[in-house]
């Protein structure tokens, strides 16, 4: 190396730009993905997704129960019901934590009411499985049909056009 040319090993501006840009992109991504809905359209989309997930979780439990006893093990059934209940509780809690924009309170009320019905039914299914109360479980499966359908319909109705 020429004695007159001292090579500097201090980071240049270009070296800092890339990591800062990457962090900025990640932060923007996190905000975009996880920020609560503020507009009517965003809130309605979130409500539609929530209704869809709750319907999916309730329907999954119903399908498992329907296949008992010939097609599924009771141990697997118990696991599946617990998973559905846990997911439904988390889904509903996440939506209930959002403040509805003005004029969207009715959607919140409808969805949380139906959602609470779904989570209650799933909790009762879980208890019935643990108690091996199979007739009760079958009864709950039948009871869950209507809320499941209502959630599916609600999900389609509230979706912004």
């Amino acid at each position: 190396m020429h004695p007159g040319s001292r090579r500097s090993f201090a980071p240049t501006r270009a070296t800092w730009v890339v990591p800062i840009a990457v962090v900025a992109v990640i932060l923007v991504g996190l905000w975009y993905g996880h920020a609560p809905p503020r507009s009517d359209a965003a809130y309605r989309t979130s409500a539609s997704d929530t209704a869809g997930f709750l319907h999916s979780q309730l329907e999954t439990a119903r399908v498992w129960v329907q296949e008992r006893p010939e097609q599924v093990f009771d141990s697997s059934l118990a696991v599946a019901i617990e998973e559905s209940e846990s997911d439904a509780n988390a889904t509903l809690k996440r939506f209930a934590g959002y403040d509805p924009p003005a004029g969207q309170e009715a959607i919140r009320t409808r969805l949380t009411t139906l959602g609470e019905k779904a989570t209650t039914l799933l909790a009762e299914m879980r208890i019935a499985v643990h108690r091996e109360d199979w007739s009760k479980l079958e009864e709950l499966r039948g009871e869950a049909e209507k809320p499941s359908l209502k959630l599916e319909e609600l999900g389609k109705q509230v979706l912004p056009q």
Partner: protein, 412 residues
């Protein structure tokens, strides 16, 4: 061909079929099937062609040089590239170790109803025991053969009596289903690519070739393993998509758990089918845990020039062994934080898609070097397919982050 060679070929191919599926496939294929039917089956086709091409190249490089392809390539592309490639591969593969280990625990939970977190340390001990006491080849064959139980998904498709014309129509429609966005559709295409073209498969195949002490005379075996095993593995992946489609799509069910992946098999085949599916999930995730674990060990050892390998006694490859044990312990710790293994899997395969070019380019360069490869240098077919797949991987790599954000990780 004598009986011993035929047996070796058959075992190798069966292992490749059974070893293709891991938790990434179990999650991604079931999720995609429930949401899009077979409208992303074409992506599986591309992924299978891609991994066949590069796994064959990696195996051929290892057979000629008796060194793993990536180790050679990193030496030639300089320390900065090697470091970036290493960090990328380690992050992805490390996350996958945790996801696969959780997959073992989830399979055990499904069979016993004991919470999967209690099974995680047990699964880790089982993995350690297998690594310590079973020879490398027996380990590979065992989980590969057991993984063939995943063929129960193919049987389940048949027993669900699908409308084959409808399935074909779904498979040939290259568009999202009604109400789904193109952004989410392409995001899941990337997820499938990441799940089925994972870099660790190449690292493991290449380093495994060195462990087996393969030479050019094993080329036929390498090619049969790749050309027969991987496409049949791809067929398994499509079968998972199909079963999920047939059972969940009409009901509007989204797949969020491994238990849902197995449910269509139970509906089609009853308790016997469910039991076989659980064994298959266990075997697939167990095998993948071993592969990802060894891949991280190989990667570090080859970068730093440590001696490595399962065929060596642990005391002769001490740092390699310590790496494997440390990664396993970290995986257990991460799993016990209760972070969802499904979420980790989706992010891990997404980032796996992002780092694909870093794994493919070095292999392609080495396989094209006539000085290194001699008469086993890439021919026109390998180069044509290899370049197309590499170009595609660059496009995928660049688009992963925007798709992840814009689709809200598939939620949009």
């Amino acid at each position: 061909m004598n009986t011993k060679k035929l047996f070796s070929f058959t075992l190798g191919t069966l292992s490749a079929i059974g070893g293709f599926i891991d938790i990434g496939d179990l999650v991604a294929d079931a999720l995609v099937g429930a949401r899009y039917g077979l409208r992303l089956a074409w992506v599986t086709g591309i992924a299978v062609v891609g991994i066949m091409c590069y796994a064959e190249m990696s195996g051929r490089v290892a057979a000629r040089t008796e060194r793993p392809a990536l180790s050679l390539a990193r030496g030639r592309m300089g320390p900065r590239f090697a470091l970036v490639s290493l960090v990328g591969a380690l992050l992805v593969t490390g996350l996958l170790v945790m996801a696969e280990l959780s997959g073992i625990a989830l399979a055990l939970q499904l069979a016993t109803s004991v919470h999967y977190l209690l099974w995680v340390p047990v699964a880790a001990l089982l993995v350690l025991a297998v690594v310590k006491f079973l020879p490398f080849e027996m380990m590979e064959r065992l989980y590969g053969i057991l993984g063939l139980t995943m063929l129960v998904f193919v049987w389940a498709v048949w027993k669900l009596h699908p409308d084959w014309g409808h399935l074909w129509q779904s498979a040939t429609t290259l568009a999202p289903t009604t109400g789904e966005s193109w952004t989410a559709y392409f995001f899941y295409a990337v997820v499938i690519i990441g799940a089925q073209m994972t870099p660790y498969e190449m690292f493991f195949f290449s380093s495994g070739a060195v462990e087996h002490r393969w030479s050019p005379k094993n080329l036929d075996e390498i090619r049969v393993n790749v050309m027969v095993g991987f496409p049949l593995g791809g067929l398994l992946a499509i079968a998972i998509q199909a079963t999920s489609y047939l059972v969940f799509f009409p009901r509007g069910i989204e797949v969020e758990h491994i238990s849902q992946t197995a449910l269509p098999v139970a509906i089609a085949l009853g308790k016997v089918g469910l039991a076989i599916a659980i064994v298959g999930i266990f075997a697939a995730t167990f095998g993948a845990t071993l592969e990802t674990l060894f891949a991280t060990g190989y990667d570090l050892a080859q970068y730093f020039g440590w001696s490595y390998g399962e065929v060596q006694k642990p005391e002769r490859a001490a740092r390699f062994t310590v790496t494997i044990v440390s990664v396993l312990l970290l995986a257990v710790a991460l799993a016990l934080t209760t972070i969802s293994p499904i979420t980790v899997t989706v992010y891990a395969v997404t980032f796996s898609a992002m780092v694909l070019p870093l794994s493919f380019l070095p292999v392609l360069l080495v396989a094209n070097d006539r000085e290194v490869m001699g008469d086993l240098v890439n021919g026109r077919l390998s180069n044509s397919v290899g370049v197309v797949i590499l170009a595609l991987s660059v496009v995928i790599s660049v688009s992963v982050l925007p798709l992840l954000i814009l689709s809200k990780a598939g939620g949009a």
